[in-house]
Each structure stands twice: as C-alpha cells, then as structure tokens.
C-alpha cells in the first residue's frame, strides 16, 4: 500500500512539474510534508544532497524520499513514478504530435503556466526562508535563528561579489562554503 502511495504521489509530482530543476520544489514540498514523510529540515537537507550529487534533481529527490520511506522498493517505485509522465508525454509528442508547440492551445496554456511556475518557486523559497530563518510558520510567530540569517547574508554577499567580478557562483561551491560556515558559526556560537 505504501509503495502504491509513493508511486502515485511521484507520478503526480512528475506530471505537474514544469521547467526543470526547482520547478518541482513547490509540489514536492507540499506532498512530502502533507504525507509526513519528511520534516522541513529533512527536506532541505535532501535537496542539498540531491544538488551536490550527479543527475537530475527530481530523480535524485524521488530516489531519496522513496528510500527513506520504503527502502529499495520504495526508491524504485518513487523513481519510476516520477519518470512515467515525462516518458509517456514525450513519446506521444515525438511519435504523434510533431507540431506540438505550434498548437495555439499549447501556447496559450504555457503563457499561463510559465509565470505561475516562477511564482511557485519564488513563494516556496520565501515561505521556507520565513519558517527556517525567522521561525514564522504562521502569522504572529517570530523566533529568528540569527546564525542562519547571518549565513544567509554571507551567501548573498558572496553571490553579489562574484557576480560583480563577472563570475557565476557555482551551486556546489556555495554548498561547500555554507557547510564550512555552518561548522564555524553553529560550532562556535
């Protein structure tokens, strides 16, 4: 039963994530939190590991959450689940609908979906930042983690300096840097 739930949940995640990478972050978070599979903290740690290991973020997350919930079989069902919608849709397009992108209905739908996905990523990032850094999960709550806020500010500052120097801050590099900051700041204070 658990395997079926895992499979179906990840079919849903695969079927409704647009735009690659963090396009799935909002739905993935909603599902793993509402099923009680992960806490917000675990979710963020899993994203970090998925980002620092090779392969697509969505596949890594599916395998990780699946394994956490149901061992090897869980990992397998979740990973296959997240692939199934992509695979079917793309096969149908490649085989049957060569002019898929030229249909005006498809263009119309994408016109709405694109800004929606960007909004979902932004709002997910903001609401996680509010709860993790400032302890605001509901309106009226406020218990900030100043060490986290400090790390966040250092990362943003580093990002801005690197961009000013015409360098693109590498995600894995930033993760390693934040790990060092975490050991220093949480270890000392």
């Amino acid at each position: 039963m658990k395997l079926l739930v895992l499979f179906l949940t990840f079919v849903k995640i695969g079927g409704f994530s647009f735009g690659g990478g963090y396009g799935m972050i909002s739905l993935m978070r909603e599902e793993v939190l509402s099923h009680g599979w992960l806490t917000e903290e675990e979710f963020l740690s899993f994203v970090a590991v998925s980002e620092s290991t090779p392969g697509p973020l969505a596949i890594n997350m599916a395998t990780f959450v699946g394994s956490h919930e149901g061992g090897f079989a869980g990992a397998l069902f979740a990973t296959i689940g997240v692939i199934v919608p992509s695979f079917t849709v793309i096969l149908a397009i490649a085989a049957l609908l060569r002019n898929f992108l030229k249909y005006s209905a498809v263009q119309g739908i994408l016109l709405g979906v694109r800004p929606c996905v960007v909004g979902l990523i932004a709002a997910t990032g903001l609401s996680m930042a509010l709860s993790q850094l400032f302890g605001i999960e509901k309106i009226g709550e406020f218990s900030p983690d100043w060490r986290g806020v400090a790390i966040f500010l250092v990362l943003v500052l580093t990002h801005l300096i690197l961009v000013k120097l015409k360098k693109k801050p590498p995600p894995v590099g930033m993760i390693l840097f934040s790990a060092a900051l975490g050991i220093i700041i949480y270890g000392l204070f």
């Binding site: 909002s26 692939i83 263009q107 994408l110």
Partner: protein, 186 residues
C-alpha cells in the same frame, strides 16, 4: 545502436550536476557534435519540447533523443541510462545519511547547508523571473501566485500547487483566445 545510446546517456547522467539545464550542454556535445546522431535543428526542437512539457528536463530530453535515434527501445534505453547513476548514488547515500547526520560536525555543516538551499531556490526564482517575458498578463499571474501561496502559508490554510498550475494554464488559454478574437475583430 541501443547499447551505445545507453552508455552515452549513462555518462551524461553521471557527469551532470545541478539538473536539466546543465545537462543540455553535455547532451549537445555528446549526441550532436561527437556522435552526430542528431542534427542541430532537431536538438533545438527537442529543447523547446523538453522545456514545455511536465517532468524533469533530463528525462524529457533523454526520452526524446532516444526515440529519435532508435525508436521506443531507444527512448527506454536512454531514459534508463540517464537515471541509473542518480538512482545508484542516491540510494547508496540514503543508506548512510541518517547515521552520517548524527555526527556533530556534520549536523552543524547541514545547518549551514540548509540555509544555502534557501539561497539556491531564491536565486533560481530571480534568474527565471529575469528571463520571463514581462507582460501585464504574466506579471498578474506571477503576483497572484506569490501572494496566494504566501498568504496560504501564513494563515496556515491549504494551498494546492496542482490546482494553481491548472488554473494558470486555463487562464492562459482563455487570455490567448480572447486576445485572438479581439484581433480578428479589428
């Protein structure tokens, strides 16, 4: 054809960090330039389709490329190849992760890393926002989604990502149809 395709995709899955878009450069180098299995134009079509359909860009492009090169079995081999490294590596990591997190230094490091993930997500949102075509319609959708989701989270009420995407798609469809009708009248 199937086995070389599987191996090529396995290699791409193993050496891509950070998801779909990073992979497109590798795919192009391997399939278009080195192996010449695909024409440049087909490759560009593939990117457009992979970006506009649901699911991870890596899986979408793998399936598409595999099908173009060797039919349904090619699609299966390519998709399997690109996902296999992820699966093996992450499964291995997941076996030790809980124990690993119990080490004090690691727990501190992850307290920092979690903050970094927030930064990475927000940074992606900023990049995508800059790339977004800014029309009154797209900005309205963007604004409503951000406001709606933040309010739902602050007032602890339910928010459904799926419904939100469906509604935005429907709104886009209606907007497009109305705009076309208006133009036809002129």
């Amino acid at each position: 054809m199937i086995f070389p395709l599987f191996c090529a995709m396995l290699k791409i899955g193993l050496f891509t960090f950070g998801g779909g878009y990073a992979m497109l450069a590798l795919l192009q180098n391997e399939l278009v330039e080195k192996k010449q299995w695909l024409q440049r134009e087909e490759f560009l079509d593939m990117i457009a389709v992979a970006e506009s359909t649901p699911g991870p860009v890596a899986v979408n492009s793998g399936t598409y490329v595999g099908y173009k090169i060797a039919g349904v079995w090619g699609a299966l081999a390519a998709t399997f190849g690109v996902c296999l490294p992820s699966f093996v590596i992450i499964f291995a990591v997941s076996l030790f992760f809980d124990r690993f997190l119990r080490l004090r230094a690691v727990a501190y490091a992850f307290s920092g890393i979690r903050v970094c993930v927030l930064y990475l997500i927000l940074r992606t949102a900023v990049t995508l926002f800059k790339e977004l075509e800014k029309t009154p319609f797209s900005m309205t959708v963007f604004g409503l989604v951000v406001a709606g989701m933040l309010c739902a989270s602050l007032f602890a009420s339910n928010f459904s990502t799926v419904l939100c995407i469906l509604a935005a798609g429907a709104a886009g469809l209606v907007f497009c149809t109305v705009r076309r009708k208006a133009r036809e009248k002129k």
